[in-house]
Assembly symmetry: C2
Homo-oligomer: 331 residues x 2
Amino acid sequence: MTEKLRIVQMGLGPIGNKVTQYLAERPNLEIVGAIDTDPAKVGQDVGVLAGLAPLGVIVTADIDAALGGGRADVVVLTTASSMAKVHDQLLRILPYGVSVVSSCEELSYPWQTQPELAASIDRAAKKSNAAVLATGVNPGFLMDFLPAAMTGVCRKVRKVTVERIQDATFRRIPFQKKIGAGLTVEEFYKKVEEGVLRHVGLTESMHLIAARLGWQLDKTEDIITPIIAERRVTTDSMVIEAGNVLGVQQLGRGIMGGEEVISLVFRAAIGEPGARDRIVIDGEPAIDSCINGGVNGDVATCAILVNAIPVVAKARPGLRTMADIEPITCW
Amino acid sequence: MTEKLRIVQMGLGPIGNKVTQYLAERPNLEIVGAIDTDPAKVGQDVGVLAGLAPLGVIVTADIDAALGGGRADVVVLTTASSMAKVHDQLLRILPYGVSVVSSCEELSYPWQTQPELAASIDRAAKKSNAAVLATGVNPGFLMDFLPAAMTGVCRKVRKVTVERIQDATFRRIPFQKKIGAGLTVEEFYKKVEEGVLRHVGLTESMHLIAARLGWQLDKTEDIITPIIAERRVTTDSMVIEAGNVLGVQQLGRGIMGGEEVISLVFRAAIGEPGARDRIVIDGEPAIDSCINGGVNGDVATCAILVNAIPVVAKARPGLRTMADIEPITCW
């Protein structure tokens, strides 16, 4: 890789801006374009938006202007969690023959959940000889790729359990709000019903694991419950009364032949003890792997998006997932 | 994968026979041939050699007889740890257009250590539109692939440390002998000089990690020392006097810019405390991942060889390594 890869950053929310920072510090990458529909961002320098010195790249709302002329090799797409939205954007991006790395959670393994949209993206990518990959720390790595890869040394696997336990006490306030910290239980369930309080990706992670193990799941479940304060809890930013919500527990269950063969346990709450990323494989050999303290999600998601770029740039054309792409490493 | 993959097992030592057992239990594989040069094995049923019921496949010493007629898809090659030996065998196998999964430690990442032989195998594989991969639990997985893959969520990596600590007390007697248990220190170093007491692969593992991180190492070191009994130790199979050898410590050091940026610590000894497979990444984020008790090497090496088959069967032609192949999982 003597030539620099030319990158267009599309979607300049918190993740997109952080990605810009990471892109700018890699000597083998060059940011050649930036796209966002927000009128407040259009016309600004993408470096300045990311809190850096100007990079000489001005944000446009016009995909065709940014990608015309064949200046880009890879688009980093950090616009939405929803597959439907990202599908329409991809169908405008891919004809330019550029590959795409995306943070879209639903795109991380959409073959079971949204097969028509997945097939449509796959066709468009192959037609343009480009590859598309959605990844992130979770979904993408901790609760799907890593446990699947761990089974590589197993003769047999009976069950896969993954725990991602996070203490939100010292996380950003938007993260604390996202997990429902400080809400009443009623407010919590209202937000769950509205679909705004939910970690997106557990179902996709289960399907990735099952596909790689050759398992035909009968069904998957994704159960959200609040973690409730037993006594008043005070943090730097809020007071949570006893009986109110410290955070969220989300349980992914993959059922095959009446047995729970995949268990994904996601907990993020104020004061949550035992922060960790743990993988337990009930198999031969049995494996119990633990990252004590867990992996910081904000850094890790942006890092794996940037680390994926050179791998996606030379991947087989089509819609790839973490289940069928060469290893992504820091480089 | 509706059609069964047709496998030829070449090399029927302890690893080869165990691989036969694992091959035989996979519904998507069919053993169609078996090769070994040992006259005591030729003419025997490969299943019987592996302690199973007869499989109807008779061992031959003749590579051309086993592979002629295009009956095989993949050869599992478990003949030697030496790249030179395996090179000559591969140059006879590959023209049949079959892909190869091998346990050869030196072949796991030979691009720095034996570049001419590596290039020769790569050319032969590409010419026959076949892929070659050497893997195993170590080298192949625990001390190279897994730490490299863990860096995928890192923005920066300053140092990678991997510890593989094994308590040999309850392992097979050949394993205990292999690590020097019961020898005097003099005998230990004599065997090291003869090259018979040595874990093969630390250097290859360091080169795999460095290559994936884009690091140009100044040099690598591979230092073997005995672990010595402080008092008499008695096991089921031997008595080790104080001052004699409990096992081996092997230290891989990868140096860049005068700093040790890769540390691989391999210890296997009778009564060794704290058995584990641990990965510590000094980076952003920092990662400290530990498999307490460690991974059983006998099962794991044979399992990953078998698990690699479907991935290698559809891999890009050429000499592949665990650094540039799609994920291997139990299936």
